[in-house]
Point group: C2
Chain length 425, copies 2
């Protein structure tokens, strides 16, 4: 049965029934927060050994003899840079170890471009207009950086292979004011798309109009597979860039916030040696180093990329059932012809697409029934989803039991919003 096959009267009858149900749900006084991609308590418990894996002096001395307890090493300890290099298919000399937040590292890079310019170029603050390409839907905090700085955001539609490359190439190669592009290339936030090999190759081969054009390759979900046997593979963009002499064009970010403890992990910036040499001249004025003890904790806890992978499998065991609960619940919406959604093989989100014009209303109804979702539109520049159809679902944080209740509420609210909209027409 699809809602679109039913008469207006029948739709009204169904709406009336659902509103009774909704009242009942409201009376349960639920209080569930699914607004952000937060790991659950069960996931956090996986990393407790990290808290005391660095305890004795022997744990604290880096292989080059550096005492990690003292000042020094702007770009981080060699063991940790190697770990991050192995994770990303690069070399330790391509790795700069940052603080506890890759978001902050991206901001730092942009702020330095703003104030000092990139590699001797004009500071972005001195230019009339700066534009960034924003594949949509995307990560709201990327867009918020642009909004704060007054960077003009150009929406680029996402496809199942990644951003629409015809659009991307058109902008990047013709407009010297296009200085940046946000990418979450693997298990993208929020659609869960992994960029195809062709997409990566086309990105790497671009000849940007602006010499200081940079791709922010936010590889936030690099090992965050849900199904390790059927994982997505992402082409190494640095290797592709090198083929075209474009190795300065990509700034890759990785973070352990969603491997260990959010806000107490480490991030790394991965790019060309030339870029890092220039950046370090500036960073050297801004701080002495990020936290090397926390870098060492990661090295002692993970040992190597295999250890990291095994650890992430344990995360998947906890996270995948939560994704399945959502996907199972959404089936009813599909049968009614009022929604479609993504079925990602990794990452932290599902995109739920309601009937056009129904996302905000669905989120509002959920909120009033005690289930807080990410604000509708949040995944779009300036918070405006032109179709008002996208809802970002973050299944990880609630317990399985609570998530089931939340899904029940979401489905109910999506149905009510759809019926209201169809009756209204």
């Amino acid at each position: 049965m699809k809602y679109s096959d039913l008469s207006r009267n029948r739709l009204q009858e169904m709406l009336d029934e659902l509103q009774v149900q909704y009242k009942e749900v409201q009376s349960r006084n639920l209080s569930l927060d699914m607004s952000r991609g937060k790991p659950s308590d069960e996931q956090l418990n996986l990393s407790m050994d990290m808290l005391d894996c660095v305890r004795f002096k022997k744990d604290l001395i880096s292989e080059d003899g550096t005492d990690c307890r003292n000042y020094g090493l702007l770009d981080g300890i060699i063991e940790c840079r190697r770990l991050m290099a192995n994770l990303t298919g690069t070399k330790p000399e391509n790795v700069f170890m940052g603080g506890n937040a890759s978001l902050n590292m991206m901001y730092i890079v942009i702020s330095n471009a703003w104030t000092f310019g990139i590699n001797g170029g004009t500071p972005w603050s001195k230019l009339e207009t700066i534009k960034f390409l924003c594949p949509v839907p995307g990560y709201d905090r990327h867009f918020r950086i642009c909004e704060a700085l007054g960077i003009e955001m150009i929406s680029i539609p996402m496809t199942p292979q990644g951003p629409d490359m015809d659009e991307v190439e058109k902008w990047v190669t013709s407009d010297p004011m296009v200085k940046g592009m946000w990418c979450v290339p693997k298990y993208s936030n929020p659609d869960g798309v992994t960029y195809s090999d062709e997409t990566v190759r086309r990105l790497a081969a671009m000849k940007p109009a602006a010499e200081d054009f940079r791709i922010f390759w936010d590889n936030a979900y690099i090992v965050h597979h849900l199904d390790f046997e059927n994982r997505d593979e992402l082409l190494n963009i640095h290797a592709e860039c090198e083929k075209h002499g474009n190795q300065d064009m990509v700034l890759e970010l990785v973070s352990t916030s969603k491997m260990v403890f959010p806000g107490a992990g480490i991030c790394a910036l991965i790019t060309s040696v030339h870029n890092l040499t220039e950046m370090k001249k500036i960073m050297n004025c801004e701080l002495i180093s990020f936290d090397k003890l926390n870098q060492m904790r990661h090295v002692r806890f993970f040992h190597n990329v295999h250890g990291m992978e095994v650890h992430m499998m344990r995360h998947a065991e906890i996270v995948k059932p939560r994704f399945d609960i959502c996907l199972e619940a959404f089936r009813e919406l599909g049968e009614l012809g009022i929604a479609h959604w993504t079925n990602p093989r990794g990452g932290y989100f599902i995109s739920l697409y309601t009937l056009d014009g129904c996302a905000k209303r669905t989120v509002e109804l959920c909120k009033e029934a005690g289930v807080v979702l990410t604000a509708a539109g949040a995944a779009f520049p300036y918070g405006i989803d032109p179709k008002d159809s996208h809802i970002r679902i973050a299944p990880t944080y609630p317990s399985v039991e609570k998530l089931k209740k939340a899904c029940e509420v979401m489905v109910l609210c999506a149905k009510i919003a759809a019926l209201e909209s169809m009756i209204d027409k």
Copy 2:
């Protein structure tokens, strides 16, 4: 005996003798680094319990129920904000918890002023000239931030009571381009001066020409006494400012880098609620929070300000003998009439003042004999000491035995430099 009482021939004879000694010292192949204010191994060992004082889930839950392992709390956990408030005589609502480096926090504040302006004012990047008052000698890394940003540095002479307040008031009240002033108000870097009550009162009472004038109150050595019974007391500048409606004028920074582990401590920014409210609007675009687990480690390790004080007494037991070794060694230079120096009651440095024109040469001679000191001039804007007389001595890092050797070398080199200069005239 003073060198100035001796004949030129006698000076030459002495120089010849010392040069023989110098050759002998060079043949020892020493390799001692006293260039930075780094804690010694013994000091670092005092904080080893911090590495595993947060191990179990109960250690991780903040008193307001926040799980410190997960995202959230831009301004930090309440326990840690309270600890920092008690340390600084303020309230938790005045405290913003930063990352591992107060230097970085100062840069962030200035960078945000640069890009966004302060509390709605014109972004500093849009102004023709920005000037900062720099009490000299001062902290080289403060000056380096100014140099990187092209901020004009106005040298203000230090007196035993703090910066020359007549000069400070003249600049701050008359020149709207004076937007900032660097202060290390307690056991100043490098002179070890604590600002007198009158200095603090005069600073607090100023009516700056620029509404967005800010004092960077870098209270880096707030509990870093050498002699706890005869400690310096610093007036609470926030309380003084409030009397004049100037509570937005001061940004205080404290850091635990030199209490626990340099680079793995935490810092705090302490200022008015109004300032923090405005700052957080911007910071909220730049990151989610700093490392709350490390904040919790500090709370569990120190318990409270008394715990912090007891811990710092242990540091003093290690650090004071090192200061005494330097002071004892320098006596010979005093007797020869070729140097004077500071005798601080806390902090990390001694200022050694050679005869005019002899600092660079002394540092160079030391380096060639295997003892690396802070570059002469480093404590002055643009690295230029107009008298070429100041050397910053950092006694903490070497072992007692090595420090004695280093002092021997320093004294020898200071004598050679003095003799060379006197003979040359």
